[in-house]
């Protein structure tokens, strides 16, 4: 099928492109930008007047909750939520039930995702069996089955020795390992950033050193083993410095941050609202601002939603007793645009971190509208005022502090391989 997108402002940082030009799609791929190729007179025309035409977003952290946790969400609902937020490619974590530690579970997720026909889904495989941190998983089989990388998610390793061996093994087979740096003996029992707010409110703190001590260990092991590494959900200023130093010393690593860690600090814990209970925790403003600086400097190259849908009861409890996580994949782009509104980041940087940046972290063929790419793109009305509500949400999750918030900027339509999978009606 041929498609011609006209009159839209096409912004694609991967090509340094920002212009009102036409986009031509044939047989799922982008075949031209600007001038029509031969034979496009019979193409279906989409008028994108007044809208931005952007690469589909690439989100490195969307929990789909299936298999096993379908009271919180499933591949169809969360896939639908993702495309309504403009996410055309997503990476899902291995902490399902059962855990993604066998090729069968990886295949199940992809089959269900294909059936749902929503975003392109790439599961992470478990680094160790059952994420128990003791026995290495069949990582090669997992990646052969479609896992894009391996990770022990937030589960601790039994020892540094096991971690070291896991990295050596992954390096042997050139697998990408995703780290969530955390020293469990320091973070255990904590639910909030260790600082003035947690002290005032008597909430057990998670010190920054829980992240940075683990990060330092992980970086040393990455250097030693030569494994390909990505560091997920950084939250501390010191972590940004450490990643920057490691990159400067020649380590080939990447890093991401959750959008809420860029927008919020621990002051929001004022009323013990469990919707702000996330891991890693919302930290102090200095940390938040340094994370933004890390993006400006190219130290952090991906912003993700860290979408964690939960059932209602998961958040109906005193703060520490609530389950951590927000379900914000539907509003990833408007949230990220807030960073631009505040003057912290420019449009190109924001969009890079939502498209080609995360795609490059994981070596995905996504996040670009260059000729030859799959036609994964969105139409975005940057001036639309709209309110995201609990009633209108697509996610099965009940947990967001942003319900009833008015946003400026809305994803109006999402296309994957040239097929429209979502449109605001």
């Amino acid at each position: 099928m041929k498609l011609r997108i006209q009159n839209g402002r096409l912004i694609d940082p991967s090509q340094d492109l920002d212009a009102i030009v036409e986009l031509f799609i044939d047989n799922q791929k982008i075949v031209a930008i600007g001038d029509a190729p031969d034979g496009f007179d019979d193409a279906e025309v989409v008028d994108a007047s007044g809208q931005w035409v952007l690469p589909g977003l690439v989100d490195l952290a969307v929990a789909l909750r299936e298999p096993g946790l379908t009271q919180k969400g499933n591949i169809a609902t969360e896939g639908r939520a993702a495309v309504s937020g403009g996410v055309t490619t997503l990476v899902c974590p291995p902490n399902t039930r059962p855990i993604v530690d066998t090729p069968a579970v990886a295949a199940l997720i992809q089959d269900k995702a294909d059936e749902a026909g929503m975003a392109n889904v790439f599961p992470l495989g478990a680094l160790t069996q059952g994420l128990e941190g003791t026995q290495l998983s069949n990582m090669v089989a997992l990646t052969d089955a479609g896992c894009i990388a391996v990770s022990n998610h937030r589960s601790p390793m039994a020892s540094t020795k096991v971690l070291s061996r896991a990295l050596e093994y992954a390096a042997t087979h050139d697998l990408l390992v995703v780290f969530h740096p955390d020293e469990p003996s320091l973070s255990e029992g904590g639910c909030a950033h260790e600082g003035l707010m947690s002290t005032m409110h008597g909430l057990a703190g998670i010190p920054e050193e829980a992240e940075t001590i683990a990060l330092m260990r992980d970086l040393l092991l990455v250097e030693k083993t030569g494994v390909r590494a990505h560091f997920a959900r950084l939250s501390c200023a010191k972590s940004v410095e450490m990643i920057a130093d490691a990159k400067a010393s020649g380590l080939d690593i990447t890093a991401d941050v959750a959008v809420h860690n860029l927008l919020l600090n621990d002051q929001v814990l004022d009323r013990f609202d469990g919707h702000y209970h996330v891991l890693p925790p919302l930290r102090g403003d200095e940390d938040r601002l340094t994370l933004i600086e890390g993006i400006k400097a190219g130290v952090i190259t991906a912003i993700c939603s860290d979408h964690q849908p939960h059932e209602k009861m998961a958040k109906i409890a005193p703060f520490a007793a609530t389950e951590p996580g927000m379900a914000n994949v539907e509003i990833l782009l408007p949230l990220a645009m807030l960073l631009m509104d505040e003057g912290d980041l420019d449009i190109s940087t924001v969009l890079t971190c939502l498209t080609s940046g995360p795609a490059a972290c994981f070596g995905l063929e996504a996040g670009s509208l260059s000729v030859g790419s799959f036609a994964d793109f969105i139409l975005f009305d940057s001036t639309a005022r709209w309110t995201w509500s609990y009633e209108s949400r697509k996610t099965k999750g009940h947990n967001s502090p942003y319900f009833d918030e008015e946003f400026v900027g809305r994803v109006m339509a999402t296309y994957i391989s040239g097929q429209r999978v979502y449109q605001v009606v």
């Binding site: 003035l196 002290t199 909430l203 013990f272 520490a320």
Partner: protein, 334 residues
């Protein structure tokens, strides 16, 4: 010190208490009003008929998710002296232990048409959570939530200080021991700074006194002599024995040697200093028997004052709830 949102939750539109969750955000006038109200109840304990009808016809539920004989008893006594009907529920051994959620438990109790919940819970913010989720017109009194707040304990301590020292201006107060895990210390610090003492010192090793308390207006002292030097009031906190052998402290004996209050270390304070303790006390762990029973000790006065403070707070919160009833805006901020 910052003022936070809980003020909006616990005051009605006339600025009166409708819940009592924390001292954070409550001003000097209101705290003084609580103390004055308590003073008026104090003499009642000495009369042959120890009752007033302020809560007659009201049902007060002691909702204790954590054990506490002393606090529960004084709340019960206070409610009965206000003529309320009182129900005691030890939730640890009932519904939630069978898997019922806190919200379900709460809704069941609301269905029994209670007027006031006295809540103790091991989670910080539990009283806020209940106040946010319960139906309007039910007053929530925080009887201790996690490490967060124990506002009636702090206010009975303020009453004790005022009765012995005449006021708060210019006083130096030392709070000694396990500050990090103490909801009492947090509430005391808020009360003392609001009421205008000149200095609050928090005394203990770094493992028990995090530096962030300095940002809440306290002076941090890791040396007992510096902490007690010329203070008017000493508050000793219970050192929870279960924490002793963890990584927080080497031993009871080492803590007692460095931070225990004895007749010798008490001498560093002003000659007329008073000694307080929220109880239960560990003799020979944080305080010597000579000091606990000595002329400086006002520990038993604290217990007596606790009943009056709880009567004051309960009557004021119920009155604040009734004011909400009369207002067309009732319940809007729920």
């Amino acid at each position: 010190m910052m003022r936070s949102e809980p003020r909006a939750l616990q005051l009605n539109e006339h600025g009166q208490l409708k819940h009592f969750l924390t001292l954070d955000g409550l001003d000097k006038t209101l705290l003084t009003e609580i103390l004055d109200r308590a003073e008026s109840f104090l003499s009642m304990g000495e009369q042959s008929v120890k009752k007033v009808p302020l809560l007659r016809g009201k049902t007060v539920v002691n909702l204790f998710f954590e054990n506490s004989t002393r606090t529960r008893t004084t709340f019960e006594l206070a409610a009965k002296r206000l003529s309320a009907d009182v129900i005691n529920l030890n939730i640890e051994t009932s519904a939630t232990s069978k898997g019922e959620s806190l919200l379900d438990t709460l809704q069941n109790l609301e269905a029994m048409q209670s007027d006031m919940f006295i809540v103790r819970h091991s989670d910080s913010g539990a009283a806020h959570f209940i106040a946010e989720h319960c139906t309007p017109n039910v007053a929530i009194i925080n009887a201790g939530d996690g490490r967060h707040a124990h506002p009636t304990q702090a206010m009975l301590d303020m009453l004790t200080i005022r009765r012995h020292k005449g006021g708060f201006e210019g006083l130096k107060v030392a709070i000694v021991g396990d500050i990090m895990h103490s909801r009492v210390a947090r509430s005391q610090l808020q009360a003392l700074t609001t009421l205008g003492v000149s200095e609050v010192r928090l005394v203990g090793p770094k493992t028990l006194v995090p530096s962030f308390f300095a940002e809440m207006g306290a002076t941090i002292c890791h040396d007992l002599e510096a902490g007690l030097k010329d203070v008017d009031v000493i508050v000793m906190l219970r050192l929870q024995k279960e924490r002793m052998k963890g990584a927080l402290l080497p031993s009871e004996s080492e803590f007692y040697r460095l931070y225990g209050l004895t007749e010798d270390t008490l001498a560093w304070a002003k000659p007329d200093a008073i000694v307080m303790h929220p109880g239960p006390i560990n003799r020979g762990v944080e305080i010597s028997s000579e000091v606990a029973d000595g002329k400086h000790s006002v520990i038993l006065n604290q217990v007596t004052n606790g009943i009056a403070i709880r009567m004051a707070v309960m009557s004021m919160a119920m009155s604040g709830q009734l004011q909400c009833d009369e207002s067309p805006m009732a319940g809007e901020d729920k």
